[in-house]
């Protein structure tokens, strides 16, 4: 409760400072709107459904792409960890492509898929996939060999060892890879939405883009705020519980 109050106070002061800056008229009100204006924007768009619509479209792209990236990345990572051939080939490819900022996929995606949902999805998948492959590979390589030996003497065999020993043992690495993949996917999707207008749906990035076109700073800042909140929520709802569980079980410090 005390921590919550402290955080609350901190943000209240931040907004107050912003308000003061607006009242002092240091910058043009076009560039720095009042907090109330941003709140007003958020309120109207929340009421007329614009915001919710955009959020749903963005999240749908993100989630579908992310899940595809996971489903593809996990087995690929297991393959590269298990067989040298795959490590030298797919592993190297993954390492190379992971260093590529995922927004760099946007031009290629546009030329291949045109201004379609597929292009957006492709960018998100590319953002997720390689991080997950590399994290899974690293995680499996870090599993102490003694776990495997212990499982073997207890009568565990090939597939059982992979599913019940290697995979859970590598979980801390895999989860951090999933988190990184999520962050990459989220960033690249925003970039893609800002650059590219896709007529099948206007996401948060597009709202941001039109805010700039109209020089509507309240819209720009309002949408930014929503993006920040979604990022925070994803962290708290998706990853924090899993990480807490891992820390508790493994006895590692959060």
């Amino acid at each position: 409760m005390k921590r919550f109050l402290l955080a609350f106070l901190f943000f209240a002061i931040l907004i107050a400072l912003w308000d003061c800056a607006f009242r002092a008229k240091i910058w043009s009100p076009v560039l720095l709107p009042a907090p109330q204006q941003v709140a007003e924007y958020l309120k109207t768009t929340a009421m007329d459904g614009t915001l919710l619509n955009a959020t749903v479209i963005t999240m749908r792209r993100l989630l579908i792409g992310y899940v595809i990236g996971l489903i593809g990345g996990l087995p690929l990572g297991l393959l590269t960890a298990r067989w040298k051939v795959f490590h030298d080939t797919i592993g190297t490819l993954a390492l190379g492509l992971q260093t590529l900022p995922s927004v760099c996929w946007v031009p290629l995606a546009l030329l291949w898929f045109g201004q379609t949902e597929a292009a957006m999805l492709f960018v998100v998948v590319m953002g997720t996939l390689w991080s997950v492959v590399i994290a899974t590979d690293t995680g499996v390589r870090h599993v102490p060999p003694i776990y495997r030996r212990a499982a073997l003497t207890m009568g565990s065999k090939r597939l059982h060892i992979w599913l019940k020993v290697i995979l859970p043992a590598a979980l801390p690495f895999i989860v951090s890879g999933m988190k990184q993949g999520w962050a990459f996917a989220w960033r690249s999707l925003m970039a893609a939405e800002i650059f590219v207008t896709i007529l099948t749906g206007f996401g948060l990035g597009q709202l941001l883009h039109y805010g700039r076109e109209l020089s509507a700073m309240d819209q720009v800042m309002g949408v930014m705020l929503v993006i920040v909140v979604i990022g925070l929520l994803a962290d708290k709802i998706l990853f924090s519980p899993v990480e807490r569980f891992l820390h508790r079980r493994w006895g590692t410090n959060p």
Binding site: R149, L152, T153, M154, P168, W250
Partner: protein, 276 residues
Amino acid sequence: MRFGHKTGSVTEELALVSPSKLSIEKVSKSFRSRAGTVLALDKVSLNVAEAEFVCIVGASGCGKSTLLNIIAGLEKPDSGTVSADGKPVTAPGRERLVMFQEPALFPWLDVLGNVLFPLKLKPNLTKKDRRDVAKYYLELVDLTRFERANIHELSGGMKQRVALARALAPNPRVLLMDEPFAALDALTREQLYGDLQRIWKSRRKTIVFVTHNVREAVCLGDRVLLFSPHPGRVQEEFIIDLPRPRDLNSVELASYASRITHALKSGAQSEAGIAK
């Protein structure tokens, strides 16, 4: 006992299985390293009787752990055979469970989950049977209160007791122990000697126990085999004729230990002499 409600299959599962007779015949194993080929085991032969407790003592690097791994089926010998009850050992299996120096417990499972792990590989048991069996062994090692604890919350001695419960759970005929108490403090170790002797007696297992601690070997073994290195082979055999439970600090035990230590040292010296 708390297990008045035992179902048929649990009783069956907890029933004593006949301990194995092990025979190791002319087992050789060499490793290739940068310095050349090292003969870790040179035509080692030994027999272990049913329900016998055999300790193998030797300096580190004498090949005793390699021998244990070969008996377990985790490694293959270059030549020679290992057989349990007349059947050759070709792969690891739950008839011969291994306890390692590290507990090798799975950190993603709690204490009960770890003991359940080998039981889940037995398809003929129901979920409830497995829990009953696991709880029986946790009680045997006196850890019932900690069944929901995470592994990192346990002390070193408790971890090895969970590892022992996990090794006993699938009711193996043989226990292979590779310096399981080496990383523990003296007090905890002494307590575990008592536990192990008690459990060995009540569960009747054939045990092969590898250690570099001579007193530990004398305290636990019916027979102590002295291993000499380069190449690894059985140098001498001692029958420990002391009543159980044995007191680690008794004079008789100390006199056995000093004889074995003496033999161990003279072996090391003669080897140093050859090297010169």
